[in-house]
Symmetry: C2
């Protein structure tokens, strides 16, 4: 067994419990699968079983097409594919009406028993098989199963910010798995393994290139590179995943084919229509385009005095005949702001730009909205745009790659953060209008909806740099399938199938994961103020790094206080973008939650929080405490020497040490900055420089 | 005439005064030069005359070897080369005992008159010819000359920080003129023109590669690249310039030839001896090595528990048989300092490291000491190391490239800064122990001494990015020849030979140059505190950019005050590195000069300067004033439209506009930072954010 992390959560470690192992052996000695020979998700499912079962239980399954010889066996296929399946499906099962829902059911018949994995589509069956394997990897009995599941979200996407030169924007785990030196790595065996990992957590769409589309990537939609893109698409297809591409809004110009990118110019419209036809001729199930336009110096419809609806619909029209989608990012703001101007508020930008366009977008256009109004900070309020456009499809965009959350050198398990966002009740249609339900299309009847995220993988052996960062990727997929899973459940599940079967290891790693977001927040950015990081790199403290910049990201700290006044009463008025209940809560110092206080208010350092502490003492206390918690982690981790394979033990030890050293820098720099600025001493007299 | 600046100060614009032009024509119609045919500096001088005279006066000189036919002519040659020269040299002329001194003398004989340019060596003659041409370019009469000059400094060097990939560390004028894609540009016609420019200002040594010697450049001293280096050396040789190379102290290891770089290891010593033999076999007049060792992560003798004398002497031994020199940089400090530690002081480092080694260095080893103790800031005290080692050769290192002084986008004429350094009376041997005299070897009897500097040229058309930055390069050479020249004289001379013959243009440009250092200082870093720039780039304000870094460059600003306490009484004790008179002056708040106050003392913002202003009001006032002065400049420059060729007028207009915009950023960010931190309002109520 490799311990370099390459197998991630598909390790399929040998089942240690003899009773369970023999149970699994009985049920899986023979597999009936009529669709196994075909190239497709069922074939992939069978391959996965053939790879997993020898590892789990030391037994290679025998594959039969119609009828098993054994008394117990596994039967796998789509609905109506053969009689075992038909027998298993009795009465209405909601999950089986869903394209992706599956049923795992043990049937005891007169002469034999069999375990059926079925669903409406091949990929549903594949998901079912991964579920079954997950049960085994966790040591669950499969003796009498009756499990029907379907995903909460229709679109469960991954965005890659990979560039064709092999670099990854905001990548912290090596180079791209897709590209090297402007070539596509079509022969890389990693791609299949990557598709397996993604399918195993239910991902059904992947955009394989950076939303910042530079010159080389503009050619992905041309004759030159489309054949190779199609090879990637074929691999993903066999795992039930649609391939998407990020496109350059000015591709017409960049490729020298039309001298404008004006969405209302008939030549531009025609060009994209032909482009869509060309793409679909080689990738018939192509997912569609992801577009970053008029954002951070990318071209877009604004250049031609058109709005985003004009821009997005033009692409939507082109893709419509083929069922393709346009994912139009709402990360649009003035990135040439004057820091002197306190009235302009970047947090307002997405809502101000897009809300007035509600209803103007085509049915196959989806707005892609970041979870917060700024940019994936460790703490932000939920974007007020989400749910605010009842007549416009939307997906929520999370960030799995830890750009502002420790760059995969610090542990920061993000599921709790995402769950907070999903559970946020926007109130847009009264109580219960949670982000979770909006993204599911249950509040507004969206034609398309779901969740997407920027991924954290690269070509590091273990995919994610930090072994524990794999948990974010795993958890992302699991959460999209079932947002009712708790952070703890997800953490436990991931640890169980990824790490050795040791209670001590599992308990400690779950503890690390669950505490990690709060710890990272505690020694970095206090009370929702955000930023305070080294410009461009976004790693390491630089309190004034963005303070006098053009990026709209300020804390306004002076000798008296800190924070951004976003109230209606005296600030930028951003609070008014929320429904009245939230608007009022954020507007008032009395009700604004502590953790977002400095996002919404500029207050004196002596302001007393709901916690009873002053702002300045909160800063000092959390920064000291954060480091202490990392120190405590390291002590606890050391106790596990010998319980975890050496390779991963050493890797995690090294990263924890790095996290400790870095957290001390954060602590001392943040504390010193505010002590020097405020002149207020730490109540506890600890060392500040 | 090209107006892109390529000709720099060797423009040789047509002489407008008809009387002068005909005078010049008379004296230069015929040139007697016995050494003109040989390849060497005299031949180069003749070539220069042949290029310059047609431009200046529309007449190509006739070259004869022995005897002129005309009644007036020019006679050029080394001492004793022919009879005209011998006749000109009557009695003892000090300059002619110097290898580089020259005589320009008009002789009136019975049947003819002639103007002699002579000197002991060919390069002395070349310098004399450049002097003559400079006189003509300035419109001076040459009717009755008697001018004998010799340079103040023996070593008059230029350091290039050019890398073989074509980049230039701290270069602001394009790419390298020597390298591209790891190849040497031996066929580039620029090299000859560059040698002409350098010879015209008396430069006699050039190190052609970066002191940070990376892998590719390590090969410059190997078979692979030495033949091409020799081609560069040949070009420079014909202009009287010796070629130097920066070497990798760990070349033995990097080239895989010896597994150590320990200077006391006989294999290492032998390797360098053979290396020297090899180099001198192809470049017989090779100048020597420039070495940055044990500095900013470069390898050095410390790795082997040897000291800098061990390290430098090992190289010195190798070069000694050939007369080669080792220029050993003293820019050695802890670049992994803990910002929390206020007792360590980077300013102390060079003195602390090197002073104890006085007397231990070989005769052909020269310490290369930066002008200040930090790193080429807009304002620093003079390095206390200079003059402190009576038994160790030293050169002063200046920085022509405007790393911390506006990066050739802002005008910053550095001659006044360098003159302040040169005029600084160290008192090491009582009154009159100026840096100027120490560098000349007049205070301590150095075997070798002089001045070197990091240059500001690249492959931009005009060599230096900003046209006006040429004045720094020109002035550097002129100052090294004759440090008694005033900044104003140098500025006037440069403007006269570089810009149109218009009083308005010349007066304004001289004014710009002379004011520029003070203006740049006024809107950037106050009272000698330094730094406060964007890390790595060193351009643009970032007040805390280096405050919490490992670089030893702090201002320690808090809500009460700012500055670095370097006193003996309560600080780092740096002041004690100076002779008692200076030590006492810097130590005391009463006598420390305002412009260096924050370099030596941490004071409250309310501290009253000798100027009568508080520190905080000084910060506000200078920052507002600096921008106003740039605005005034722009108004004045506009008045010159039509007086300067369009190309240079537009270029300078553009740069001034950029300077204005950038100076506003400096002003507002610096003022806002200190206002927010101190809470003290501007007395004049101007806008601070």
């Amino acid at each position: 067994m490799k311990n370099n992390g390459y197998d991630a959560w598909l390790r399929y470690d040998k089942v240690k419990d003899d009773g369970l192992a023999s149970q699994y052996r009985e049920w899986t000695a023979e597999i009936v699968a009529s669709e196994a020979a075909v190239e497709g998700p069922v074939a992939s499912a069978i391959k996965e079983l053939q790879l997993a079962l020898p590892r789990l239980i030391g037994q290679t399954p025998k594959l039969v097409e119609e009828k098993a010889a054994s008394k117990r066996f596994l039967a796998i296929g789509t609905l109506n594919s053969f009689s075992y399946v038909e027998e298993a499906v009795q009465g209405p099962i909601a999950a089986l009406n869903d394209d992706e829902g599956y049923l795992l059911k043990t049937i005891t018949a007169a002469d034999c028993s069999y375990l059926v994995v079925t669903g409406k589509t091949e990929r549903a069956v594949l998901y079912g098989v991964f579920h079954l394997l997950r049960l085994m990897a966790q040591g669950e009995s499969i003796q009498s199963l009756q499990l029907a599941e379907q995903p909460k979200y229709r679109l469960r996407m991954i965005n890659h910010w990979d560039n064709m030169d092999g670099s990854i924007e905001r990548g912290y785990a090596g180079r791209s798995i897709f590209y090297r030196n402007n070539e596509l790595l079509v022969d890389s065996p990693r791609i299949v393994d990557y598709a397996r990992l993604m399918a195993s957590i239910g991902i059904n769409g992947i955009a394989i290139n950076n939303v910042n589309v530079h010159r080389a990537e503009t050619f992905l939609i041309t004759d030159k590179l489309l054949p190779q893109v199609a090879q990637f698409a074929a691999i993903f297809r066999s795992y039930g995943i649609k391939l998407f591409l990020s496109v350059n809004y000015a591709a017409t110009i960049e490729l020298g084919e039309v001298d404008t990118a004006d969405p209302l110019d008939p030549r531009v419209q025609e060009w994209w229509k032909q482009k869509a036809e060309q793409i679909y001729s080689v990738i018939p199930d192509f997912g569609g385009f992801v577009v970053k336009a008029d954002s951070e110096n990318r071209p877009g419809p604004f250049t031609y005095n058109r709005d985003h609806a004009d821009g997005a619909n033009m692409l939507g029209e082109a893709l419509k005949p083929y069922g393709g989608l346009v994912l139009w990012r709402c990360f649009v703001y003035d990135c040439h702001q004057d820091w002197r101007d306190r009235s302009t508020d970047r947090a307002r930008a997405a809502y101000d730009h897009f809300k007035p366009l509600d209803g103007r977008f085509l049915d196959n256009v989806i707005l892609q909205i970041k979870n917060g109004p700024m940019d994936f900070q460790v703490r932000e309020p939920v974007s007020p745009l989400f749910g605010a456009m009842p007549n416009t499809n939307a997906v929520m965009e999370f960030q799995i790659t830890q750009e502002y959350t420790g760059q995969q050198r610090h542990v920061c398990f993000l599921i709790p953060q995402w769950k907070e966002v999903l559970e946020f009740d926007t109130k847009v249609k009264g109580d219960g209008s949670t982000v979770k339900e909006i993204a599911a299309g249950s509040i507004h009847p969206y034609a398309h909806s779901g969740i997407t995220a920027v991924t954290n993988v690269g070509d590091d052996d273990n995919w994610t740099g930090h072994h524990l960062a794999q948990a974010n990727l795993y958890g992302y997929g699991r959460l999209l399938w079932n947002p009712e899973l708790s952070s703890e459940q997800i953490a436990e599940e991931w640890v169980r199938i990824t790490f050795p079967d040791s209670d001590a290891v599992q308990q400690l790693l779950v503890k690390f994961l669950l505490e990690s977001w709060s710890i990272y927040e505690s020694y970095t950015s206090p009370l929702g103020v955000g930023w305070m990081v080294t410009p461009h790199y976004h790693y390491g403290p630089d309190i004034d790094g963005y303070e006098y910049s053009k990026w709209g990201t300020y804390h306004f700290a002076d000798h008296k206080g800190i924070g951004v006044n976003r109230t209606v009463a005296s600030g930028t008025g951003y609070t008014s973008q929320y429904e009245p209940e939230h608007a009022a809560r954020y507007e008032s110092l009395e009700t604004c939650p502590d953790e977002l206080l400095l996002f919404f208010h500029h207050v004196p350092y002596t302001h007393v929080l709901h916690s009873g502490k002053t702002v300045i003492q909160h800063i000092y206390d959390t920064h000291f405490a954060g480091v202490e918690r990392v120190e405590y982690w390291i002590e606890r981790w050391k106790e596990l020497a010998g319980e975890v394979d050496e390779q991963r033990f050493a890797h995690i030890s090294g990263r924890l040490q790095e996290q400790l050293e870095n957290s001390k820098e954060w602590r001392d720099i943040v504390n010193t900055y505010f002590f020097r600025k405020s002149g207020i001493a730490d109540e506890k007299g600890r060392t500040i420089y």
